[in-house]
Symmetry: D2
Subunit: 147 residues, 4 copies
């Protein structure tokens, strides 16, 4: 296995969403289960997209996740306070790569970090659909150069 | 089926917890799926118990859910703001009945309401364990007479 | 709290669905979390409805859960084998009450049992929509007199 | 974004687990939500580990997920039949990298595929703990050379 880069830093992200933890996020090991982080990813990305009133999921466009991944650096407990950081790392014609990270209790180093590639598709044909100018502008607003 | 009582009112609850909705709470019908309300119930109850630093789940005591139920009055959407109300309706020797309700966007009438019966058990034997005075006092602090 | 009736029996159900347990169903107490049983309920009911090719969720009709509830009798572990029993307890004009129970490892007495009230609605208006003859016949096929 | 490799093939996996889909796996777009695939990953890996009666999660050892990721190739619907393929790609001192893929309806090409890195840790200290010979043998039994 290749050498692992250090956890993402809070300063690397341009948009944040607070997410309340649920008792059911906690698994038998007493920490947030890995699958739940992908709920946080999904929620953060869609929350950001909804902020611009893009009419997603209601006819305008649909999004398909092409790929995602996460590295886990530190356990998160039920009583921790969670904030998700989001940035846009790459914008293509109809796909976008987001960087995401989970920050707990105001720490500057991520408890977990990952990425998420969205493809915008036509709701009927499910074929990739180029971003509208509105969507592209919204995505660009949090674009940062990847480390 | 018997006649249905009206939705619970915000004034009937003595403790509240804000819960952020997740994209994955939404099902094919575009609203929060019924099973997810029970995550809200669980989270609200445990959040209340944790508030008193009762050491639950870490050796002191464990809780088993004996029964729960929910009535759904109004759809909840991803962009809605959710607050859960909690009250204690009955305290027994080792079991407690909570009343719960989901309030969205500051409305006074519940989008959903239900109940939840917890039995406190010995972590090893799983046998019911009478409430300590600390737990009983904490539960009493939000006890209200059921309607 | 009122006296509790005994657990449901396997013989009381006319339709069954095997459901594989997931690691993430297990909570910090080492057993299936209560909220997950409602995923089993939902899945069982929709699985039964899909069996008749009723075109639900694809334009014909939508279902809204009006109410549900569950009693928990016995812990379920990750390595247990789960089978859900389903019966129809009451058929109204546009609503139906199902009885459900979770049976593990071939036991005749339920690990958990509950009910689930579905209202069929028009997908656009969300108003109750009387059952078609096809739906009514399908529901009747597993109707049993409640105990 | 780099060129994407083709989907994994069924023949590349040495161990399989059938997983029943749940109604709640389906999101607003009518397909299995991306976060749910990580429930399938977790369940498959733990199912494989349990097969050897390794006493995991009950004192012997605990597992922490260090990293995982998934590529999504094809939508999965509620009525699809899902089988997860598992292989071991690398065994270290206390960590193991699994390859996983989701196959639907007996297809030879994966609907989704990914990886999952587990670190075995001491339950108390949470420090990495070298694999026992029993664990190592069990992992080796499905080790394949990565493509």
């Amino acid at each position: 296995m290749t050498k692992r880069l250090p956890p993402a830093k809070r300063d690397d992200f341009g948009w944040f969403a607070g997410i309340t933890l649920r008792w059911n996020d906690i698994d038998i090991f007493g920490h947030v289960n890995n699958a739940r982080y992908y709920e946080f990813f999904d929620t953060t990305v869609v929350g950001f997209l909804h902020e611009a009133d893009l009419g997603l999921g209601t006819g305008g466009a649909a999004m398909v996740v092409a790929e995602n991944g996460c590295r886990f650096h530190r356990e998160v407990k039920f009583t921790d306070t969670l904030e998700m950081g989001l940035r846009v790392e790459h914008i293509g014609t109809s796909s976008v790569r987001y960087g995401l990270a989970a920050f707990v209790n105001g720490e500057s180093s991520a408890a977990a970090d990952g990425y998420f590639i969205h493809v915008f598709v036509d709701p009927a044909s499910k074929r990739p659909m180029p971003f509208s100018a509105t969507v592209r502008n919204h995505l660009s607003s949090i674009q940062t150069d990847p480390a």
